[in-house]
């Protein structure tokens, strides 16, 4: 009994940081309707800044003041992010804000590397709480008790702030109706910045307080991202009590899980979330997403156009040019262009649910990496030939999408995005933790094409046929009745149900189809590289696909192709610099602010300037 109680305390101590970061994310979302994806980075900065103020200023401000300093500094950084990155794009569709905060992740990652270096940094222990205390005969680190107290104090503090103070009541009012609050004479701009400060402050404190239990390291940002999303989605977006209860629930189960099912801790987290969402789709304490989508006030989506004859000629010329690549005799070019084609297919498959269906998935890499692993596993354990493995890859990925999609399409908007990310992270963790089968972090090696296709030039043609074929199928599917119906669910779910169509079924099937196509891209990838690693499934890969779609322009079927090509070439070029993430991050932020239509939008703008506006816009 005593043992279980001690475990319970450990779980609650682990929940502390999770709660602090998740509540910050939740508060920011509640008021500004922005999901701050860089919240994990703020948590990481909290730990680094606390480390520096402990080691650089030892004795001057001490341990406890260092935690406070870290919180305040991160709060300020959060405000700077809000003012510089988000303020210019509040009126843009949600996706822009999400992508821009992803740019911030990249920038902070490289800045941290630049300032603190790649080593893990271990901070000092909390003075007075270095040891253990005995509770019912079990030894519990005394600092764990500090963390539990911290979480409870913050919970009470936030409760007091939001129910008893004028500022807190204004913030809650803003959560319900921003326009009304600004009509009452509250300066929205100050309110938003203030809320960002508070949210970032909490993340900073969370990171700093975690320091005595671990270290400050560069993996903290992505490491905490999936758990806090699970906490926020399970607890209910915008609910502080929900964040607290969910953080406790998940951390405590995690601790018991390590005891009984050591290899499935992350899966356990997912199961908790899945059970909660089946019973309460908006989380334990959440409410349905407010109608009328406060975040996106962009222009209505434009219709997709069939290619005009000149467009068809351009496509034909590009495909013809692609067939000439291996004839150059430069293997490097065949490899690079095969990569580009594979990413085009990956990006186009994401675009199908994101652009056509309006469902912003943040976990599309699950199906890309999933397809790659399905192919690799069949080759390794069943000796499956490449040809069959390439068919099984989309089937396997489609099957994964069938299960994940069933949960995800029950939700919409930001909830959908977070749930897809969390689900993808679970698949990643299965692959990562299941060493004996998947090789874990070491990946799976020697997955080569069949003999006839082993030449890079020959395999390139296989990629060309299947990749370009896949992209064309995706394009064609946008113009079929099914594609129109999917577009209908995006434009007006209400109307779609009112003409007898099943919105959720359409979205689910589109999710499966897009997942299968991503799986095909993954299958092509694994034979091109001869190996596969868990990185193909991680959050960063999902974001890569999002950025390709976003860079090309969401409102255009050609966008993802252009985006994938440019992004792959850009990354190939940028990765030669040491701090390429910094450059890429800044580039993403600039594009979000300056080129809201992506590359395709920019092309339209140039055409309009030259007096060749597309027809549908020329109508009065």
């Amino acid at each position: 009994m005593a043992f279980y109680f001690a475990q319970l305390l450990t779980g609650m101590a682990n929940a502390s940081a999770l709660f602090l970061v998740a509540s910050g994310l939740s508060i920011i979302f509640g008021v500004t309707r922005v999901v701050n994806f860089s919240h994990g980075s703020l948590y990481m900065l909290g730990a680094y800044i606390a480390y520096s103020s402990m080691t650089v200023l030892p004795g001057i401000i001490g341990f406890w003041a260092s935690i406070l300093v870290a919180g305040l500094a991160v709060g300020l950084i959060g405000m700077i992010i809000e003012v510089c990155v988000l303020k210019p794009i509040y009126k843009a569709p949600e996706l822009f804000q999400l992508v821009a905060t992803f740019g911030v992740i990249l920038v902070i990652q490289d800045m941290a590397l630049l300032i603190w270096g790649p080593e893990d940094l271990f901070g000092q222990r909390a003075p007075g709480f270095e040891g253990v205390v005995e509770i019912f005969g079990e030894r519990v680190p005394s600092y764990d008790l500090v963390l539990i107290v911290l979480a409870v104090v913050v919970l009470i503090g936030l409760w007091y702030l939001f129910t008893k103070t004028r500022v807190g009541i204004l913030v809650r009012a803003a959560t319900q109706d921003r326009e009304m609050v600004s009509a009452l004479g509250v300066n929205q701009s100050v309110l938003f910045s203030g809320v960002f400060f508070l949210g970032a402050f909490l993340a900073g404190i969370g990171g700093a307080a975690q320091l005595p239990k671990g270290s400050a390291n560069l993996l903290m940002d992505f490491g905490i991202l999936a758990p806090i999303f699970v906490v926020v989605v399970t607890g209910g977006m915008g609910s502080i009590w929900g964040a607290f209860v969910a953080a406790m629930l998940i951390s405590v189960l995690q601790v018991y899980g390590i005891r009984f099912l050591p290899n499935s801790t992350l899966v356990l987290m997912f199961i908790v979330m899945a059970v909660v969402l089946v019973i309460r789709p908006w989380g334990l304490f959440g409410k349905p997403e407010a109608a009328g989508d406060h975040g996106s006030q962009g222009p209505p989506p434009k219709p997709f156009r069939q290619l005009d004859p000149s467009g068809r000629i351009i496509v034909a010329v590009i495909i013809a040019a692609l067939t000439l690549v291996p004839l150059s005799g430069v293997n490097f070019l065949s490899v690079l262009f095969a990569d580009i084609i594979i990413f085009c297919l990956f990006a186009a498959s994401l675009h199908y649910i994101l652009g056509v269906g309006g469902l912003v998935s943040f976990g599309h890499a699950a199906f890309y990496g999933g397809g790659a692993y399905v192919a690799a596993l069949f080759v390794q354990y069943a000796g499956t030939p490449m040809e069959l493995a390439l068919m099984l890859a989309p089937l396997g990925a489609g099957f994964a999408a069938l299960i994940i999609g069933w949960f995800c399409v029950r939700l919409t908007g930001v909830y959908f995005a977070m749930l897809t990310l969390a689900c993808a992270q679970v698949l990643w963790s299965i692959v990562f933790q299941w060493d004996e089968v998947t090789g874990g972090d070491d990946g799976m090696l020697s997955i080569w094409p069949s003999a006839w296709a082993s030449e890079p030039g020959v395999y390139y043609y296989l990629v060309l046929v299947l990749g370009v074929g896949g992209v064309l199928v995706l394009r064609a599917m946008a113009h079929t009745p099914f594609g129109y119906a999917l577009r209908g669910t995006r434009d007006s779910a209400l109307r779609t149900e009112a003409i007898g169509m099943n919105v959720k079924l359409i979205q689910w099937m589109a999710f499966v189809f897009a997942g299968a196509m991503a799986g095909l891209a993954g299958g092509l990838f694994v034979f091109a590289k001869g190996s596969v690693f868990p990185t193909e499934m991680e959050i960063a890969t999902s974001f890569d696909a999002l950025i390709m779609v976003f860079l090309g322009g969401v409102q255009s079927l050609t966008g993802p192709i252009a985006g994938a090509s440019v992004f792959t070439l850009l990354q190939d070029w940028l990765s030669r610099f040491e701090y390429w993430r910094l450059l890429l991050g800044l580039l993403i932020i600039f594009i979000a602010i300056l080129l809201p239509g992506g590359l395709a939008g920019a092309v339209d703008q140039v055409k309009a300037l030259l007096g060749r506006a597309p027809k549908d816009e020329a109508a009065p």
Partner: protein
């Protein structure tokens, strides 16, 4: 014989009885108006008829089939069309494509993956647009239409599967007076020609009195009066609600 029968419908929100024992019937080919001041329970009634809200008790029978418990899309399949108070059309599609979508669904081609949607049932859709006088706007994008045209487009979409019953929630809200008349005249003509039954809610009394065959008056969730236009006009209780003390009838500017 009555085509749609609503019996003893109840719905409360918290302590507020939004719809309190409402019963009525609608005959084939009838144009029935459901009127009442703001908060009378019109929209709640409508949403229960269309499967969006579940009633606390009561029954809604269409041609002998119970609608309560069915989803909106299944009710649509039984031949019930609907337009919305705030128009819901596909902004990224052309006018004719909006109508084609309803036809695609009607012919159960939603999951078809081997044809081009833009080619399917285009002629049928054009015929419907012709009916509402929007044929010349067929290829314009729906998101640049004037509001009155959007309302007409919704009518064409609702008529696409040749419904036997049309539910119109404030069909003329937000339109100019001239447009209101034109739209309701069009609706009345279609009803006469095709034998469709229509149930509509409306704030504009001129529109109601000119077109409705029969009128139901709701007040505070209860059926206050029912009868022909002249009966309802002459009913003192209705006059009390609409013109009386002003306590039950506060902020409705439409009437004036």
């Amino acid at each position: 014989m009555s085509f749609l029968t609503v019996q003893n419908l109840y719905k409360s929100f918290g302590g507020n009885r939004a719809v309190d024992d409402v019963s009525f019937a609608l005959a084939k080919g009838e144009l029935l108006a459901l009127i009442g001041p703001n908060g009378a329970g019109k929209s709640t009634c409508f949403n229960m008829l269309y499967g969006i809200l579940a009633p606390d008790k009561g029954s809604v029978c269409l041609d002998g089939r119970e609608l309560i418990g069915m989803k909106p899309r299944d009710i649509w399949r039984l031949g019930v069309g609907r337009t919305f108070q705030i128009t819901a059309v596909y902004a990224s599609m052309s006018v004719v494509e909006n109508v084609q979508m309803a036809l695609i669904s009607h012919h159960r081609k939603t999951f078809s993956a081997f044809t081009r949607a833009a080619r399917l049932y285009r002629d049928d859709a054009m015929a419907l647009l012709n009916l509402i006088g929007m044929k010349d706007q067929a290829d314009r994008a729906a998101n640049i239409l004037a509001y009155g045209d959007l309302k007409r487009l919704e009518l064409a979409v609702a008529m696409a599967h040749d419904p036997a019953l049309l539910l119109m929630d404030e069909p003329t809200a937000g339109m100019a007076p001239g447009e209101r008349r034109a739209l309701m005249k069009l609706t009345a003509d279609i009803v006469a020609e095709r034998g469709v039954s229509v149930l509509f809610t409306e704030h504009d009394m001129d529109v109601v009195f000119e077109n409705a065959h029969r009128v139901l008056v709701l007040n505070r969730g209860q059926l206050l009066a029912e009868g022909s236009v002249d009966d309802v006009r002459a009913n003192p209780a209705v006059q009390e609600v609409y013109l009386g003390g002003g306590t039950t009838f506060g902020g409705d500017g439409d009437h004036a």
